[in-house]
Symmetry: C2
Subunit: 636 residues, 2 copies
C-alpha cells in the first residue's frame, strides 16, 4: 500500500521483514515476550488503559494525563508490528481489547482524547502548545495504520480516519478553519503516513499546513494564549523550545525539545519526499549537518540538556549530565531513516545505525522490563542530580514516553534495514533475517546470515521469483576502513556510491553475496571543541561503542587511564550479557591508597598501577550491579 | 570587650588590625571605595533600605522580601568594620541613616522584621523553617555589635538587644516559652557574639538551646507545619537540608544547605569555646574531617550542588557544575577561623587561607562592583545551564546574600589574621599591616611587611610597650615544604607546634622576625575518587590556586594539555589584573583544524601542537573578556 517517495527509496513495511536468530532477532524476541506484556501491564496500572473506559470522575485515582493516549498508541503500534511478524494469540487479544476500548472512547464527532474529554472538556483545541492533543492524535493515527497493515482489519484505521477527518475539518488555511499547529510535533508525520496508507490527499495537505504554519507571524502561540486570557510574554520558554521561532524553511539548526524537533524534521523529510519540495529538503540538510557534525554524542544520543530535554549549543556534549533521552535517539533514527531513503546517502544510515546500536538500545534492559529515560555517557560515584534516579533502569516513569517508544522501535527495526525502488534493493543495516520486496516487477527474497555486529561477515542470499536485473545497494558503513565483497565466491569491487557498494547484475535464485567488513577496535577522538572529551578516547568496534563499567573492575573506573600503546583485544563471550564481544587490555589506574585522609597533594605522588581493562558495549551497561561507568577514557 | 574563649585563642577585633598597602589592603580599599557604596545603592534600588521606612502597602513596588533585613545587616556590619579601620564621613552618614531607620522600624515590643511586619504580620514566628526571621535577627544582632565596636555608640546595640530580649522571652526550654529553631542558622552565633559583647548570659543560653534543640524528636518542623495546617510529609526537602535530621551532637558529616550548615558548625565551635563542651567540639571535628577531606574544592569552595545549594556525597566535586557559593566559602572561612582559634591547629588556618585567597575572593570583581554567586572551577564554551547566567559577574542578584557577605568579609579580613591568649600572639595569615593586642598584660604592636602571597618573605616587627616574654606563634602553611626563620637576622628553628612555629622570647621593641616560605609552582592532584579530576592537575603557588582563562590563549583552553615535564615559571606582572604573579610555560593544544565537519574520528589523527600557557590566579578570573576557563588541566 505504500507509495514510492518521489525521487527516493521506498521503505519496506514491517511485515515484509522477518528477523532470524541474531542480534536484533533476540532483542525482538525479548520485546515480544517481555517488554510488550510488561508495558501493557504498566499501562493498565498507570491508568492509560483504564482511561479508555471514559468513566473517570474527579477525585478518582488514575486521573487521565495529557500523554496517556500517546503512550498507549505507541505500545499499540509496536504490538501490531509484533503481530505482523509473528502470530501471537495472547497479544492479538490484548490488541483487540485496546482497539475496542479506543473505538468506544471516540466521541460522536470523531474526537478521541481521554484527557481532554474527561478532565478538561472545555479546553478542546484551546492550548495546542501545551496540552499534547494533536501529538496524541498523531500517535493514534500511526497505531491505526500499523494495525491495519498488521491485521488487514480496518476497525482502528476507521477510528483514526474519523479523527483525522475531524482534525482536517477543524484546522487549516481555508475559510472557517482554525489556524494553528501543535507544541509537540507528531501529527504531521502521522498524517503523511495516513495519506500513504489511504491515498487521501487532504491528510498530506494538512500535514503540509501544520509544518509550514509553524513559526510564522503573527505568532499562533501568542494568539492562542491571548484567547485563553493569558499574557503571551509570561511563558517561561523561548519559542525555540517548540521549533516555532522561525518558519521551518528558514531554520538552520536543531533547537528546543529534541523529540519534538526530530519529529518535525522527519515530517519535513516526508513532505520533501512526497512533493519534491527542495526547500524543505535543504532545511533538513542544514539542520542535519549541525546536529550530526556538532551536537551528537558518540552513542548517537542527542539533546544534552535536562532543562529543555533538548538541544543546546554546538559542541556542548558533557558526558555525565548527558540527557540524551531514549526517545530522542529513536526519533533521530526515524529521521535518519527518512533521510537515508530520500537521498540514498550512506551518511544517514551511518547515524541511524549508530543511534540504534548504542543510545537507543541502552534505553532498555537485557530482560526487556527496565528502561532508561536519559542515557548519560558517564556515571560518577556520586550521581546526585539525576532526575530519574540512580544509575539503573526503572520499570516505568511518570512520563512513560520512552518505554512505549522502545516497544515500537524494536518491533519495527527489521524494516529499517531495507529500502527499495524500481530496480534497486538497498540494504542499510545488517541483521540476520529475510526481507521480501518487489523489485523491477519481480518478487525478491533476500536472506542475511550474519553475527553482525559481533562479526563483520554477512552472507546475503538473493532469491528472486525469476531471474531479474536490479541494483543491490549494500551499505559500506562509515566506520569501516576495509571491506571485501564476493558474489558466488568471486571477489567483486562493487561500484561505490555515496556509502553504498552497488552490485548490478541479473540475479538468479540462490546467488550469494559475501560481505566482509574489517572490524578492528578503534580509539575514537572527539573534535577538540567538545571540551569535556579532550585527552580522552572512546572505544568502538564496528557500530558498537564501548564503555567501562564498575562491575568489571576493582579499580574505580574513573581512575583508569588508557596508555596510547595498550592493545585491546576483542573476544566474543557467549555467556556474558546475553553474548557479546568484550574488549580486554591492560591499562593503568591511579591508586586510591596512600592519601591519608588528604583530598589534594602535590603531583606526581603516585605511579599509576597496571590494571586489567574490560570494556563492554555501551548498550549493555547497567545490566549487572549498578555502578559508575564511562564511555570516554583519559589516554596517557 | 571580647571574652577569652575557654581553652583557646581569642580573636582580635576588626579595629585592632589595620592593613597596609598589600594584597588585602588593596582589596579592602576597593571594598571601601567601590563595593560598600555600590551595595548601598543596590540596597536602595532593590528595596531593602526603603523597606525600613515601614510604609509599604500591598500593590506597591519593592515588596519586602524575607531576606531583605539580612542583606542590609551584612552591609551594615561590613560598613561598620570599614569605619572601625578608617574614618569616612560619607560612610558614617550612610551608616547613621540606616541605623536610624532600623531604630524606627523596630516594633514597640522589640520585634524587627520588615518582611513579616509589612507583608505577613499574622505569620510572626509561625514558620521558623522557611521565613528566615531568626536568620535576619541574627544578622541584625551581628551588625549591632559591629556598630558598637566600631563607633562606641549604643544606638543600634540597644535596638538589637531589645530584639534579642524579645526572642529570649519568646523561645527556649522554660515554661511558657515557644520551642523551636530556625531553618536558616545564624541567630546562634549572633547570640554568642552578643553575649561576648554584653556579658549577658541569657544570650549564650539561648544560643545553646537553639543549637541543641535542633533535630530532636518529636520534630519541631513537623509540629510547626501541623500548627499551620500543613502536612509535614508534604515538604519537598529532607531534614538534612536544614541539618535537622539528627541532634547536632550526633551529626558526623556536612549535610544540606552549605551556608546554613557552616553557620551552625560555627555556632557549635563558639559554644564549645565558651563552655568547654567537648562533645560539641568532637562533632565539629568529625564534620570538618569529612568536609575538608572529601568534599572541598581545591579553591576552598564547598557545596557542589545547585539543587540544595549545598553538600552532596564524598568526592562529588564536578568542576563545571560546581556551585561553591561565595557565601559558603565565606562561611567556611568563618568556621575555620573559630576552629583555628579553638585548637591552635594550623590545618584549620590552612583551610581559611585556601578559601579566602581563592573561592571567596573569586566572588568579587577587581573593581569591586560585580559578584559571582556560584564559583565554578571550569566554564565550557557552551555553559547553558547556569542559574545565574553567563560566566561573568553580576552587579546584583534577586537573592543578594553574596555581595553583602563579601562586603563584611573583606572589611574584616585583617582580624582573621591574628589571635591572642595570655602570653601567646598568633599569626594565622600573612598580610601587610599592623595589629595591636594585649599580651601578658603588655600592649604589643606587630607589623607585617610583605608582598605575600606573591612573595614568600614576611618581615614582622614586634613593638611591645615594654619588654615582655610571650610566645609568637607563626603559621607555617600546609602548602609550604620549606621555610626559614630569622630573629634580628639570626636563623632560628622555631618550635613546630601543629602547623605553627613557636618563638618564645623576651620581646624588645623593634625585634624583627624574617620569615621565608618557599613558593615553587606546584602541580596538585586530587584524590582519585574525585572522578572528574583523574589525569588532571591544578596549579598552585603559595596559597594561590591558578586557572587558565580564554583571554590569555588562542587555543581553546579546554584543548590544552600540560606535559608532565613542562616547566612553569612564575613572574609578577605589575600591570596585569591589578598586579599578580602569572605562571608561564609551554604546553600542548589539540588542534581544532582538519576535522572537515566531522565530530568523531579515529585517534590518533592529529599531533598536539606546542602552545604558550599562561595561568592566572583563579580569584582573578573573569575580569577581562568573559570566556571559558579551567582550573584542572589534563596532564600528558
Amino acid at each position: 500500500m505504500s507509495r514510492t517517495a518521489a525521487g527516493g527509496l521506498r521503505p519496506l513495511e514491517v511485515a515484509d521483514v522477518t528477523l532470524a536468530e541474531g542480534f536484533w532477532g533476540r532483542r525482538q524476541r525479548t520485546n515480544r515476550r517481555a517488554t510488550i506484556p510488561h508495558v501493557h501491564e504498566m499501562l493498565k496500572r498507570s491508568g492509560a488503559i483504564p482511561a479508555l473506559r471514559m468513566n473517570w470522575r474527579p477525585g478518582q485515582k488514575h486521573k487521565p494525563h495529557p500523554f496517556f493516549d500517546s503512550d498507549l498508541a505507541k505500545w499499540l503500534e509496536g504490538a501490531c508490528y509484533a503481530l505482523a511478524t509473528g502470530p501471537d494469540a495472547d497479544l492479538a487479544r490484548k490488541v483487540n481489547g485496546v482497539v475496542a476500548l479506543l473505538a468506544g472512547a471516540q466521541r460522536p464527532d470523531g474526537y478521541l482524547n481521554t484527557y481532554i474529554s474527561q478532565v478538561a472538556p472545555d479546553r478542546r483545541w484551546t492550548n495546542l502548545r501545551d496540552l499534547h492533543e494533536l501529538y496524541c492524535a498523531g500517535h493514534l493515527i500511526e497505531a491505526g495504520v500499523a494495525h491495519h497493515q498488521a491485521t488487514g482489519a480496518t476497525s482502528l484505521l476507521n477510528v483514526v480516519r474519523r479523527y483525522a477527518d475531524l482534525i482536517a475539518d477543524t484546522f487549516g488555511p481555508g475559510p472557517g478553519r482554525r489556524r494553528g499547529y501543535p507544541g509537540h510535533e507528531e501529527i504531521e508525520l502521522a498524517l503523511i503516513r495516513l495519506y500513504r496508507a489511504t491515498g487521501e490527499r487532504r491528510y498530506l495537505s494538512l500535514a503540509g499546513y501544520f509544518v509550514d504554519a509553524r513559526g510564522r507571524r503573527p505568532h499562533f502561540f501568542d494568539a492562542e494564549a491571548r484567547a485563553r486570557g493569558e499574557d503571551p510574554a509570561a511563558v517561561r520558554r523561548g519559542r525555540e523550545y517548540w521549533q516555532a521561532h522561525l518558519p521551518v524553511r528558514q531554520q538552520d539548526r536543531p533547537v528546543g525539545h529534541a523529540v519534538r524537533g526530530l519529529y518535525l524534521y522527519s515530517a519535513m523529510a516526508d513532505l520533501a519526499g512526497e512533493t519534491g519540495d527542495a526547500e524543505l529538503l535543504a532545511a533538513c540538510r542544514r539542520i542535519w549537518e549541525v546536529l550530526v557534525g556538532r551536537q551528537m554524542y558518540v552513542t548517537g544520543g542527542v539533546g544534552p540538556a535536562r532543562d529543555n530535554e533538548g538541544f543546546t549549543a554546538d559542541y556542548d556534549l558533557p558526558d555525565d549530565t548527558a540527557y540524551a533521552e531514549t526517545c530522542a535517539g529513536i526519533a533521530l533514527a526515524l529521521w535518519a531513516r527518512r533521510m537515508a531513503n530520500l537521498t540514498a546517502d550512506g551518511r544517514y544510515a551511518d547515524v541511524m545505525e549508530r543511534a540504534l546500536y548504542n543510545g537507543v538500545l541502552s534505553g532498555v534492559s537485557l530482560d526487556g522490563e527496565r528502561f532508561f529515560y536519559d542515557n548519560p555517557l558517564a556515571v560518577h560515584p556520586a550521581r546526585h542530580d539525576s532526575w530519574h534516579g540512580a544509575p539503573h533502569r526503572q520499570e516505568w516513569f511518570g512520563c512513560a514516553c520512552c518505554p512505549t517508544n522502545v516497544v515500537r522501535m524494536i518491533a519495527s527495526v527489521g524494516a529499517l534495514a531495507y529500502a527499495a525502488r524500481d530496480d534497486i534493493l538497498c540494504i542499510h543495516l545488517y541483521a540476520a533475517g529475510e526481507a521480501r520486496a518487489e523489485i523491477a516487477g519481480v518478487g525478491v527474497l533476500v536472506r542475511q546470515e550474519t553475527e553482525y555486529p559481533w562479526d563483520g561477515r554477512v552472507a546475503i542470499t538473493v532469491q528472486p521469483d525469476r531471474p531479474v536485473t536490479f541494483d543491490l545497494l549494500l551499505r559500506v558503513p562509515g566506520w569501516c576502513r576495509g571491506h571485501r565483497i564476493a558474489v558466488n565466491g568471486r571477489a567483486v569491487a562493487g561500484r561505490p556510491v555515496r556509502g553504498y557498494a552497488r552490485l548490478r547484475r541479473r540475479w538468479q535464485d540462490g546467488d550469494v553475496v559475501d560481505l566482509t567488513f574489517e572490524m578492528p577496535v578503534e580509539r575514537i577522538a572527539a573534535h577538540p571543541k567538545v571540551s569535556h572529551n579532550v585527552g580522552r578516547v572512546a572505544l568502538q568496534r564496528g557500530p558498537i561503542v564501548y564503555c567501562v563499567e564498575q562491575a568489571d573492575h576493582a579499580a574505580d573506573v574513573h581512575s583508569i587511564l588508557l596508555p596510547h600503546r595498550a592493545r585491546l583485544t576483542p573476544r566474543f563471550e557467549p555467556r556474558l550479557l546475553g553474548g557479546a564481544v568484550i574488549l580486554r587490555g591492560s591499562a593503568l589506574a591511579v591508586p586510591a591508597a596512600g592519601w591519608k585522609g588528604r583530598l589534594y597533594r602535590p603531583d606526581p605522588a603516585a605511579t599509576p598501577k597496571r590494571t586489567a581493562l574490560r570494556a563492554i558495549p555501551y548498550c549493555l551497561w547497567a545490566n549487572r550491579t549498578p555502578g559508575p561507568m564511562t564511555v570516554w577514557i583519559p589516554q596517557v
